[in-house]
């Protein structure tokens, strides 16, 4: 390597670093693109596919969702077939009972295939994504048990802990607690 090449090399290096610095310094004075989760959060798209919301009072226990599921993670136990009461739009209480409706979230792919065939549209994808738990058993969500508490979807652990000091978490927490549904009719268009 001649002395000329040696210094040309140094010059090139310094030049490309200067070009890079120019770009990065420009961003120092711009708005940050990241948010400080969990104090702030990004909004979800209307079609967001999160943890399911299940309306037990409209489920006719037809097993169609369990059959559509590619990983067989929906468990349904029932005593007899259930029917929808045309007048109220809810399940006829004289029919059978849905003993167990559970989804194993250690297997679920969040593919939304279970929501497509449901005749009464009582299972849909919710807006919560952070379901963590301390044991494997807790990952299996018993929706029948939740329904007894008036909930449509499980409450993430961290949400309970943070509800009192982060405003948006409190809002979400109260929504889930009261059994309100995040998905609206226009959110995920039904495929028929």
């Amino acid at each position: 390597m001649t002395a000329r090449e040696y210094f040309a090399n140094i010059y090139d290096n310094v030049k490309s670093i200067a070009i890079g610095m120019k770009i990065t310094i420009k961003y120092c004075f711009q708005k940050t693109v990241t948010v400080q989760y969990p104090e702030q959060r990004l909004s979800f798209a209307p079609r967001y596919r999160g943890i399911h919301e299940f309306e037990l009072d409209r489920c006719i226990a037809c097993d169609l969702c369990a059959k559509a599921c590619p990983v067989d993670c929906i468990y349904i136990d029932k005593t007899a077939p259930r029917k929808i009461d045309k007048k109220t739009g809810k399940v006829d209480p004289k029919g059978g009972e849905l003993v167990r409706y559970a989804i194993d979230y250690s297997k679920c792919l969040f593919c939304a295939l279970c929501t497509e065939p449901c005749p009464t549209e009582c299972i849909h994808m919710g807006k919560l994504h952070d379901l963590s738990s301390y044991s494997r058993e807790d990952v299996v969500v018993e929706f029948t048990e939740l329904d007894k508490k008036g909930q449509r979807t499980p409450i993430p652990l961290w949400m309970e802990r943070n509800a009192d000091h982060i405003p948006w978490v409190k809002e979400e927490y109260e929504r889930v607690k009261s059994g309100k549904i995040a998905t609206t009719a226009g959110d995920i268009p039904v495929v028929k």
């Binding site: 490309s16 990065t24 798209a45 593919c111 295939l113 495929v191």
Partner: protein
């Protein structure tokens, strides 16, 4: 007391790392200065759980043998037990950086087998989704390649733009990575309102960013020094190893299935095939392969602009019965993934589930050339070469 020493396990010596004959002998440390080094499976610069056994002599790598299988999930076997539409969720997890492309390839294969006509609008939506995902995938490839070469900033910039694309995907189908959006007979949901406008905005925002990346990384002198004339794959070598995607185009062979064996609506779209030209060194080196990907992002933008302009109205999904029966027969459908040719071979004996599925993964085939490229190179060049091959282990191991 010699009888008390435990007998040497005869199996011990036959542990083979798959190296050339003579490479493994029990007193290798004494005879020569060669050393076996395990790179991975938990090495920061192997993309995913790839283990490469290197035979080194000081700083020189004499031989490199990739070892696979840490991420094997029996994808092909699972397909034999699932209905065609149920397998879509699994194709997401093959090449998880290009889920749309995998969905598209699988749907195309099944449609070819069952002779399903896809509506025109669905085809355009599919191309939009696939090209967006191609950009997202190339962005990850660009960012992590910078990371391998010791440049951290481009990685953050790449992910910032990728986030925009993932947001668009979230609008489209509700997921960000495992999309399951392209479905047999079309797409699962129609475009959400204002999607095309938002896409146009993104393209306007994104186009100047590519030049910024070029200033930041592509033409950075240090980066060029690290990647040019390293890992040169000649045209013959590429053909011999059946490479595809940016690997083969980087060596100057214009093989792109979107053009050479067009599918979907690509014949109606105008774009160039980017090939390496040996701008910064020999033809087919790491820099050329990298440069092909940067150029391709610009072509993706061109394709997307044309799709927005040409978007027809109409149905977004063909009318299919829920329990779709597929006639007996076999089919092989090829698809241009961001990483190369993705092929699905399906054998059907009638009924709702396939009899056998074989996946031809581009990363898997491209990875095979590692041993050839990493011969007699410096140890520091190995991450450069492996990074430029741009593998996704989810698809290599399947």
């Amino acid at each position: 007391m010699s009888t008390a020493t435990p007998p040497v396990d005869p199996n011990l010596k036959s542990v083979s790392y798959g190296l050339a004959p003579g490479a493994v002998d029990d007193d290798i440390d004494v005879q020569s200065e060669e050393m076996l080094v395990n790179m991975g499976p938990q090495h920061p610069s192997t993309h995913g759980v790839l283990r490469i056994v290197l035979r080194t002599d000081g700083e020189m790598v004499l031989e490199a043998v990739p070892h696979l299988g840490y991420l094997h999930r029996c994808k092909e076997k699972i397909a034999e037990n699932l209905a065609y539409y149920q397998y879509i969720g699994y194709t997401d997890r093959l090449d998880y950086l290009a889920a749309m492309n995998n969905n598209h390839a699988w749907s195309m294969a099944v449609e070819k087998l069952a002779d399903i006509e896809v509506p025109k609008r669905a085809e355009y939506i599919r191309v939009i989704a696939a090209e967006l995902n191609r950009i997202a995938s190339h962005l990850v490839s660009f960012g992590t390649y910078g990371l391998d070469m010791g440049a951290f900033t481009p990685f953050l910039y790449a992910f910032r733009e990728r986030e925009y694309i993932l947001d668009l995907f979230e609008q489209l189908c509700g997921a960000r990575l495992t999309l399951s959006y392209i479905n047999i007979g079309g797409v699962t949901w129609d475009l959400p309102p204002l999607f095309l406008e938002k896409l146009g905005e993104f393209l306007d925002y994104f186009e100047p960013k590519i030049d910024e990346y070029n200033d930041l990384l592509s033409f950075n002198h240090i980066f060029i020094k690290r990647t040019s004339n390293v890992g040169v794959a000649s045209k013959e070598l590429c053909i011999k190893y059946a490479l595809s995607g940016p690997m083969i185009r980087g060596s100057g062979i214009p093989l792109d299935l979107r053009r050479t064996r067009p599918y979907s609506v690509y014949p109606n779209l105008d774009f160039d095939i980017c090939v390496g030209e040996g701008l910064k060194g020999q033809l087919g080196d790491c820099w050329d392969r990298y440069w092909v990907k940067m150029q391709e992002m610009k072509q993706c933008i061109r394709i997307l602009r044309q799709c927005i302009a040409q978007m027809p109205s109409g149905a977004f999904r063909a009318k299919l019965p829920r329990a779709m029966k597929v006639p007996p027969g076999e089919v092989y459908a090829e698809y241009e993934n961001p990483r190369g040719h993705l092929g699905f071979y399906i054998e059907s004996q009638g009924g709702p589930i396939p009899y056998r599925v074989k996946i031809r993964g581009p990363s898997f085939v491209n990875l095979a050339v590692t041993g050839e490229l990493c011969k007699n190179v410096l140890l520091a060049d190995v991450p450069a070469i492996v990074g430029s091959i741009d593998i996704v282990m989810g698809e290599v191991d399947r």
